[in-house]
């Protein structure tokens, strides 16, 4: 890691190559070391702990070694991360627990329709590079709201930018911390709530001392772990099955076999037409509108998510920002074009070795997952052979062989169980767990930093510091009171630490934190104060996210999808119009952001949390089944139920997530919000006074890579 800025970039680049080359070699050696330990009959759980703690320790060392006391290092890693390495860091930033663990499972269940996520989560980088990223790099912002404020007349637009950022990033980071909890608890047998806090410590060690600089260098290390972990099991599997170590090429064969087997299962009565979704048949899970809607929302959302855009603030030049988007997608592509192979190999295994097999001779690998409640056969958890046999005997007319409709698998199992299905040693399972953890931690780091930076840079430094001192104390007091009140009101549950209620634990922690910070604060320089605030806020946001995750909110995974739609509706029109149309005005952008984001949020909240009101007052109707075209719920019947108008119901509510306009899933609400945003910005701009000649000249500057960053010129 270069510490002197005087170093030439070629030397820096070479040095990085050497460092990460050594690191990768070291990691491979570590895997071999653990494999040897396994041969020496060291128990599996110790191997699992070794993997998790070794990788966490490496991230923490990098995080501490790259600590910084400079503002530009903290916010944008000093703007000297080479394109190739920034691409790798973005890859880790981008690929979350959902990509690593969930994607293959979705493809397993939904077949072709699941590819909407693969397409949506890759194609968006084209928009990043062509429309937004390089221009923001030239602008020279620290955060996305920085750009909003500069382009659209100051702090109101900045504040809206912060709201959009927090709305889409907070739920997302909660989902990542939840993911670390799931992975750690499954592989290490830790209690979920404690696992969440182990993950939290890992995240804080990476991000707190060095900000963006530390996150960048740890994310590169995390990418290397996660990609090795993702590819190793299927490369071995492909070699075993087809003799070629390139699963992306061989799984075509598996798909052909799956399709043949599907026909066979239908003919022999092992599957019913209703239970079987043919793997390559399109539009059986999503209607064409929702299929293309997901692709579009995920793509445009990619180009609007602040934690992704801010990665391109760190490159040395605009040119490298563009190249870096290419490298990002390349590194992401390596994982995404392998995910369908996971799905195909697992499905073939399930269809040939589980379905149609005599109940009494089921392969034992699935009992470990059955014990965790993740695989069910004949309606009961597949805990052991006797339980399965008993459960199937309980079904009237059961033929004694497992049928497709008897078998239920949780989507998370697909990636996690592949090593066992392939009969690989436990070391590979440990590797996969370390990879999943790396994916969740790296994304959580990026998101946390995005939120904390927006709060410390935009809210504190740009909005609160410039206030007159009397007003400043008032604002800080109000915010402090709001934080304390929300802790008291929202977090009554017991924490994992001796069951002390969350609220007292957090208030105590807050008091201790303030006491710890005061000695550093008094007499500190302005720069030091900025960084103290940034770190304290990072800590607070992280704890809040972990506390939320430990309550296991039921909608957490859906919320990740929502984040894309919210980002898209709130940010995309203002960013694109701000760069590409000089005539767009302050009033127009503010109206556009409120309208687009508002409509999207409205659609989400009503369809999920107030569905009865949506039907009664906003003309919403039932969504339709994609295959038969029949409504999912009988609206008249459901509205007659006593709980029809209930607000904030659980997912079991007959109407929740099942109503809407135009048969549009609520995950696609950006499809409503974004066009409205563009329209409002366009129309209102025409009716308001054009931006000043000075501002227009700055926009010209953003469009030309040469020269100083615009923000530095102005301030």
């Amino acid at each position: 890691m270069a510490t002197q800025t005087s170093q030439s970039s070629a030397d820096f680049y070479k040095q990085l190559g050497r460092m990460y080359g050594t690191y990768t070699g070291g990691f491979l050696a570590f895997i071999i070391f653990v494999a040897v330990l396994e041969q020496l009959r060291v128990p599996n759980y110790i191997l699992g702990y070794l993997f998790v703690f070794f990788t966490l320790a490496v991230y923490a060392i990098i995080g501490v070694a790259t600590r910084t006391a400079q503002v530009s290092e903290y916010y944008v890693a000093g703007r000297r991360v080479p394109a190739f390495y920034n691409g790798m860091a973005t890859g880790a930033d981008w690929m979350s627990a959902a990509s690593f663990v969930g994607m293959a499972g979705t493809l397993f269940l939904a077949g072709y329709d699941g590819l909407a996520w693969v397409l949506g989560w890759t194609g968006g980088f084209v928009l990043v590079s062509i429309l937004v990223g390089p221009y923001l790099r030239k602008f020279g912002a620290y955060t996305v709201p920085d750009f909003m404020a500069f382009r659209f007349g100051g702090n109101f637009a900045r504040f809206l930018g912060v709201i959009v950022l927090v709305a889409c990033s907070f739920t997302y980071v909660t989902a990542q911390i939840y993911g670390t909890g799931i992975i750690a608890s499954r592989f290490l047998g830790m209690q979920f709530e404690i696992a969440v806090f182990v993950g939290l410590v890992g995240i804080l060690l990476c991000a707190m001392l060095g900000g963006m600089r530390a996150v960048t260098w740890t994310q590169i290390a995390q990418y290397i772990v996660l990609i090795i972990a993702y590819l190793t099991p299927i490369i071995i599997l492909s070699t075993k099955k087809y003799g070629i170590p390139i699963p992306e090429l061989t799984y075509g064969q598996a798909i052909a076999e799956i399709t043949a087997r599907e026909q066979e299962m239908l003919q022999t009565g092992l599957a019913t037409k209703a239970a079987l979704k043919p793997h390559i048949e399109p539009f059986v899970t999503y209607t064409p509108l929702n299929y293309f809607g997901i692709i579009f929302c995920m793509m445009v959302g990619t180009a609007s998510l602040p934690h992704i855009l801010m990665r391109y603030f760190t490159t040395p030049s605009v040119r490298e920002a563009r190249q870096s988007v290419g490298w990002s997608l390349f590194f992401i592509f390596l994982l995404y074009f392998s995910a369908p192979a996971y799905a195909a190999f697992s499905k073939l295994e399930v269809y040939t070795n589980i379905i149609g097999r005599d109940v009494a001779s089921i392969r034992p690998w699935l009992f470990t997952w059955g014990e965790l409640g993740l695989i069910q056969i004949c309606g009961k958890n597949a805990v052991n052979l006797d339980a399965v046999v008993a459960a199937c005997k309980g079904i009237a007319g059961h033929p004694g062989v497992v049928r497709l409709q008897d078998f239920v698998i949780n989507t998370d199992v697909i990636v996690l169980s592949t090593p066992e299905i392939a009969g690989l040693p436990y070391v590979i399972s440990g590797l996969v767990a370390a990879g999943g953890l790396a994916a969740a931690l790296s994304t959580a780091d990026g998101l946390l930093l995005a939120i904390a930076n927006a709060l410390s840079h935009d809210i504190y430094y740009k909005m609160i510091t410039p206030l007159r001192s009397g007003l400043r104390y008032l604002v800080i007091t109000v915010i402090g009171a709001a934080v304390v009140a929300s802790i008291l009101l929202l977090l009554p549950g017991p924490s994992p630490i001796y069951g002390i209620p969350w609220r007292w634990l957090l208030l105590g922690g807050l008091a201790a934190l303030i006491a710890a910070v005061i000695p550093f604060w008094t007499g500190a320089t302005e720069v030091a104060k900025r960084l103290i605030v940034a770190r304290v806020l990072l800590l607070l946001v992280a704890v809040a996210a972990a506390a939320t995750a430990s309550t296991r909110p039921s909608d957490i995974l859906a919320m990740v999808g929502w984040a894309f739609s919210l980002a898209m509706a709130g940010n995309f029109p203002a960013l694109v119009m701000g760069i590409w149309w000089k005539r767009s005005t302050t009033t127009a952008a503010i109206c556009g952001m409120i309208a687009g984001f508002g409509l999207c949020l409205f659609y989400l909240v009503v369809t999920r949390y107030l569905p009865g009101i949506g039907v009664a007052y906003f003309g919403m109707t039932s969504l339709l089944n994609p295959v038969t075209g029949a409504p999912l719920v009988d609206i008249a019947k459901a509205m007659a139920l006593p709980n029809a108008m209930e607000s904030f119901p659980t997912l079991a509510h007959p109407l929740a997530n099942k109503v809407g306009w135009f048969n549009l899933n609520n995950i696609n609400c950006g499809l409503l919000g974004m066009p409205l945003g563009f329209l409002v910005i366009y129309v209102v701009s025409l009716f308001t006074k054009a931006p000043s000649a000075e501002l227009q000249a700055y926009i010209d500057e953003i469009r030309k890579p040469r020269g100083q960053t615009v923000l530095e010129e102005k301030t």
């Binding site: 397409l119 293309f292 605009v318 563009r322 010209d700």
Partner: protein, 87 residues
């Protein structure tokens, strides 16, 4: 009116943007609308149905290649108009 260097640069940048957005739209959406037709063809040796293959790998490869081509083309435009950064 004589076009200034900046205007010419931006005109070419815009044209490049539209061209790439066109390709993006084609491989992101249009081609997948014909998935059923494409699925009637199978890629020889690999045995993928073509429609499935395009969504699982084909379009992705196009996106990756496109981004590097775009970075190269945009840089060329910047250099020709003298607004590229120094190497």
């Amino acid at each position: 009116m004589q076009e200034t260097n900046d205007q010419a640069h931006w005109r070419r940048t815009t044209k490049l943007m539209l061209a790439h957005l066109g390709i993006w739209f084609f491989f992101g959406y249009v081609i997948h609308m014909f998935v059923n037709t494409l699925n009637q063809y199978t890629i020889p040796i690999l045995k993928f149905p073509l429609g499935f293959y395009m969504a699982a790998q084909g379009s992705l490869i196009v996106f990756v290649v496109m981004l590097f081509v775009f970075a190269y083309q945009q840089d060329k435009i910047d250099r020709e108009h003298g607004v590229a950064e120094d190497d």
